[in-house]
Structures are given as C-alpha cells and as structure tokens.
C-alpha cells in the first residue's frame, strides 16, 4: 500500500502539466513576400522590377498590437531603388460578436479594395489595378497629377466595428487618397492636417456580407487634395470628395472582385470629375494551376474642358503555377490604351512570387 502511495506521489511530481504541453501563441507574427518580374513590349524592350516586404506584428497582450511593414522595391521603369515603411501602427482589438478595433499611426488604407491586394502573393495578376499607379492628366493648371485612388499608407487613425454580416469604419488621415504620400519620399504631397488649418481627409465606410463569400462595401472620403502654395500658380487650398463601391464574391475555386471609384475635385476651373472601375477574377483550374484576369477603365476630363473625356483602358490575362506553397510563377499578357492614345499597347510579363509566413 505504501509502495503504491509512493508511486502515485512520484507520478504526480514528474507528470508534466497539460498546460505546459500546450503551444503558446507566438509574441511575434512575421511574414515576407517578394516578387521579381520582367515585362517585355512588342519591340523587345524589357524592364524588370523587384519587390520585397515584411510584415511584423508584435502582440503586447491585453489586445494591443504593434504592426510594422517595411518594404524595398526596384521600380521597373526607372530602375530606381526605393525603400519605405508602409505600415507603422499601434492597434487595439476587442473580439466578440460585435468586434471593435482602433488603430493609429501609418495605417493600411481605410479606403479602397485594390489597396488590400497590395502584396504580390495577394494579387492574382502581375500588374496591380490601374487606379493605384496610373496618373490622371492634370485637372488643375500647373497642378500635380493624381491617381484615381492611390496606394496609400496614411498617417491617421481608424476605428472599425464589425459583426458577422456587417462592418463599418471611420478614419481621419493626413493624406489625400488621390496623392500617395511616402514616409521617405522627396518630394512628397503635403499633409492635409495642421497649420495652416485644413481638415484632414475623413473616411466613412461600411460593408455588408449577406452570405459567406459575398461582400458589398462603400466608402466616402472628403478632404484636401491641393494645398495653397504648392506651386506659385496655386493660391487656394482645394478639397476633393471620393466615393467608392466595392464588392467581392468567392465560391468554390472562383473569386471575383470589383471596384468603382468616383472623384470630384475642386479646381480653379470648377469641380472636375473622374471615375473608373475594375473587375477581376481568378479561377483555380487544378491544385497548382490558376488563371486570372482584370479589366480596368478610367475616364477623366480635361482641366479646361469638362465636356471632353479621355479614357484609359487596360486588361491583363494571367496564367499561374504554384510550384510550392511559397513560390508561384506567373505569365501574363497585358494590353493597355493610355489616355489620349488610340492603339492598344501589348506587353508580356513573367514573375516569380515568394511568400513565407515565418512565425
């Protein structure tokens, strides 16, 4: 009896507690993505681009997180190397049936669907949606050129509330979504908050998810896009209103997405409007193979003649092969018709995309 008792004592003392055998969620979450792409035009001219970024999420407990996303890229057209910090923020999240998040710092864009696919492994094609990087002909005399909606990581704050079938958010940012501001860029568009007094851009957005895989969202952004004194010809600060509708539908091996954007800019000639949209789709045809495509269109006006319209159109068709979970090869054909052009420009592109979740 005594021997059995001692045995039990020994077992109890040496047994590892179950809790000690459980994995602890890592304090850091780190992932990286990279892409190398080469684009060739009909004349055999080719340009190459390189992109590398890392996302680091540090958990501080009590629902607080710090997120930083540095990136380095080599611009395909100029060959210039560019380094940036695209996210550097603190975040508080409270989970639940109605969940809440508030974040501040250099935050992910609170507006736009295309901005959410701004990493190579999330983009089904090689080129990004045209709205992010295609400059619109100037709408202000001697004023800067803008994008329909730039890929922005503004300094600001955002609050998000979401539940199973809906999400809503409000944000205040110092950057106009029409003019991407970069932490390390020179020159840079001005901040639209601070002195002289000018309201920052305010974003209000919401979405509904009627059923799993289908979401429709909308956002309105209002705030400064042009600041007095940016150039000698610009004597008055101007505001812009940006409205966007976005939708995503996914089922089985198919995913579809689309976005419509309308910009109304105050200029010295009155209000000038520009709008555009894109639709994209991706279809897995086998575990390793997928096809994807996108059609973009941007329509704008001339600064001095509002009735005159100019169009930009582009389309891309991509064939993808997933070598491993981390490496994807893409081959694509792209056609684009720039503003003021009447002919399509054909290019072919090849890219290698790598993504790794480290921890």
């Amino acid at each position: 009896m005594r021997r059995h008792f001692m045995s039990w004592i020994v077992v109890l003392l040496t047994a590892a507690p179950v809790a000690a055998q459980q994995a602890r969620p890592s304090v850091l979450s780190i992932d990286s993505s990279a892409s190398v792409d080469t684009t060739v035009d009909a004349n055999g001219n080719h340009v190459s681009g390189v992109f590398l970024d890392t996302m680091v999420v540090g958990d501080f407990g009590r629902n607080f997180q710090a997120i930083v996303r540095p990136q380095v890229n080599r611009l395909a057209n100029s060959g210039e190397w560019n380094r940036q910090v695209w996210i550097a923020e603190m975040r508080y999240e409270r989970q639940g049936a109605v969940a809440f998040r508030v974040e501040g710092g250099y935050i992910p864009s609170p507006v736009g669907l295309a901005n959410l696919a701004y990493r190579p492994h999330q983009n089904p094609t090689i080129a990004l949606p045209a709205e992010l990087f295609t400059s619109i002909p100037s709408l202000e005399l001697r004023g800067p050129r803008v994008n329909l909606m730039g890929g922005i990581y503004p300094l600001g704050a955002q609050a998000t509330v979401s539940a199973r079938h809906w999400d809503t958010r409000v944000a205040m940012i110092d950057t106009s979504p029409l003019r991407a501001r970069r932490v390390f860029a020179t020159p840079n568009p001005p901040r639209f908050a601070g002195n002289p007094p000018r309201f920052p851009n305010v974003v209000i957005g919401a979405g509904i998810t009627p059923f799993v895989g289908f979401r429709v969202g909308a956002a309105v952004t209002r705030g400064g896009w042009l600041r007095a004194g940016e150039s000698p010809a610009i004597t008055t600060s101007r505001d812009a209103t940006l409205v966007n509708l976005e939708t995503e539908l996914a089922f089985r091996h198919t995913s579809l997405a689309g976005e419509w954007v309308h910009d109304a800019l105050e200029t010295s000639f009155g209000t000038r409007s520009t709008e555009g949209w894109y639709v994209q789709g991706a279809q897995a045809v086998a575990p390793r193979w997928f096809v994807a495509g996108r059609y973009d269109r941007i329509r704008t006006t001339l600064a001095v003649a509002a009735a005159t319209k100019q169009d930009f159109r582009s389309t891309e068709q991509t064939l993808g092969f997933r070598v491993t979970r981390e490496i994807t090869l893409r081959l694509s054909h792209r056609m684009r018709e720039p503003f003021g052009a009447t002919d399509w420009i054909h290019t072919g592109a090849f890219s290698i995309v790598w993504y790794r979740r480290w921890m």
């Binding site: 047994a15 590892a16 179950v18 055998q21 459980q22 994995a23 602890r24 969620p25 890592s26 304090v27 979450s29 992932d31 996302m55 999420v57 958990d59 997120i67 996303r69 996210i87 999240e93 409270r94 989970q95 639940g96 969940a99 809440f100 998040r101 992910p108 959410l116 999330q122 998000t160 509330v161 979401s162 199973r164 999400d167 958010r169 957005g205 979405g207 059923f211 799993v212 895989g213 979401r215 969202g217 996914a250 089922f251 089985r252 091996h253 995913s255 897995a284 086998a286 575990p287 390793r288 997933r322 491993t324 979970r325 993504y355 979740r357 921890m359």
Partner: protein, 229 residues
C-alpha cells in the same frame, strides 16, 4: 446420456473456436506491443491569426490543443502491411484545423467540415497528395482520400496561419498519444524496431527497441531529444 452429448457438443464448439482463433490471428499470438509516454521538453509556439488587411476584426481565437496531440508515434521500419482504410475528420474551427494532426492508413478518407461563419479553403501541394477542395462555407464538408503513404501538409489559402498534417501509413503500427502523453502500439511484430515520434516542428525522434512476443516493451520520448535511460 443427454448431459454427455451436451458436453461433447460444447467441447466440439470450444475446439472449433480455438482452431478458428489460431487460424485467423496467428501473428497476434506471436506479437508484442510498444507502450510509452511522450512529453515535450521545450516551449512550443503556435502561429497567431493576423488581420492587418481585413475590413473586419478577426474572430475569437481557439485555445491551442495540447502539443502532445500533435505527435505521431510509429514503427519506422515496419514492413508494408495491409490495413483497413479509416475515416478521419479535421474540422475548421475558429480559424484552426482541429485536430492539427491526424494519422490514417493508406486509402483512408479525411473529411474537412467548416464550422466557421467564413470561407476556408483546404489544399495541399505535398508530393504525397496534391489537392484543392476550394472554398466552402459553414456547415459544408468535403473529403479527400489519401491513398499513398507519407506526410501531407494541409493549408488554407485564405488564412496563412492555418495548417494541418495528415500522416498516411502503409501499416497499422502508429498512434497519436492521449492527452496525458501515453500511447500503445499493439500487435507489433517481434524483433528490433525503430520507434519514431514525429512532431512537425520538433522533427523526428527515433529510438531502437526490442519487441518480444507476448510482452509489452516500453519507450518514452521527451521531444525533441530521446528520453535518457
């Protein structure tokens, strides 16, 4: 007279039963078993969910399972032996594959029901098994047959922190330890064997063990290094 006849019948039935037992399970009579306990000697971390680019706030995280249940103990040098196919299940719950690890015989089916109110995608590009079940919503389930032995890493294309492992064997001598770490491999052929404890991040830990007929051999593992005698 009746009693004698009844006894003869009972005796005949008993002899026949014994003969049938000897005929259908000859190997089990000469086999041994392997018992032991697995424990993990170092802290293990799990990938956490992130939702940096999501318009929605992430859902509640599931408490991680015991890492002991992510270990598969098996006879590494076992001869290829026919074993009946099984039916296993890996649920997608709170952005986790639950359980994280399953072990099955070749030809078995693993079902992947989705318990979450969001889409998941189940796919693998492993050499042993390449498949893509696509997206499917809450309440739906899709299954996949694993017909070749090996390790199959399963992922969700939508959530990068989600992963699972399916270990497929061409013999029946494998086990996932109980919550407290104990395991038993029954009917192991006698002889010197390599017993391996597999954990996807701690790697393979292998020990030599002599299995004797009709006896239980004991081997303990403290991952990632073998237990010292």
């Amino acid at each position: 007279m009746k009693v004698r006849a009844r006894n003869i019948v009972l005796l005949a039935v008993a002899v026949a039963g014994l003969a049938m037992t000897l005929e259908t399970e000859p190997s089990a009579q000469g086999n041994g078993s392997v018992r032991g306990r697995v424990s993990i000697g170092i802290p293990v971390t799990a990938k956490r969910a992130t939702s940096t680019y999501s318009r929605s706030v992430q859902t509640v995280a599931l408490a991680p399972e015991s890492e002991i249940r992510h270990v598969v103990v098996y006879v590494k040098d076992a001869p290829r032996t026919a074993a009946p196919p099984m039916r296993a299940e890996i649920r997608q719950r709170n952005e986790n594959f639950v359980p994280h690890v399953v072990a099955v015989t070749a030809g078995s089916t693993v079902d992947f029901p989705n318990d979450d109110p969001i889409y998941h995608n189940v796919f693998s590009l492993s050499r042993t098994k390449t498949f893509d079940l696509g997206r499917f919503p809450q309440g739906k389930s899709r299954g996949e047959v694993f017909d070749k032995p090996g390790v199959v890493k399963v992922f969700c294309q939508i959530h990068s922190h989600m992963s699972a492992t399916v270990m497929v064997f061409d013999h029946p001598w494998f086990a996932i330890p109980a919550q407290e770490g104990t395991f038993e491999l029954a009917n192991v052929p006698p002889g010197m064997h390599q017993i391996t404890a597999f954990h996807e991040r701690l790697g393979d830990t292998t020990q030599q063990l002599q299995v004797e007929p009709g006896r239980a051999a004991t081997v303990d593992f403290v991952l990632p290094v073998p237990a010292q005698p």
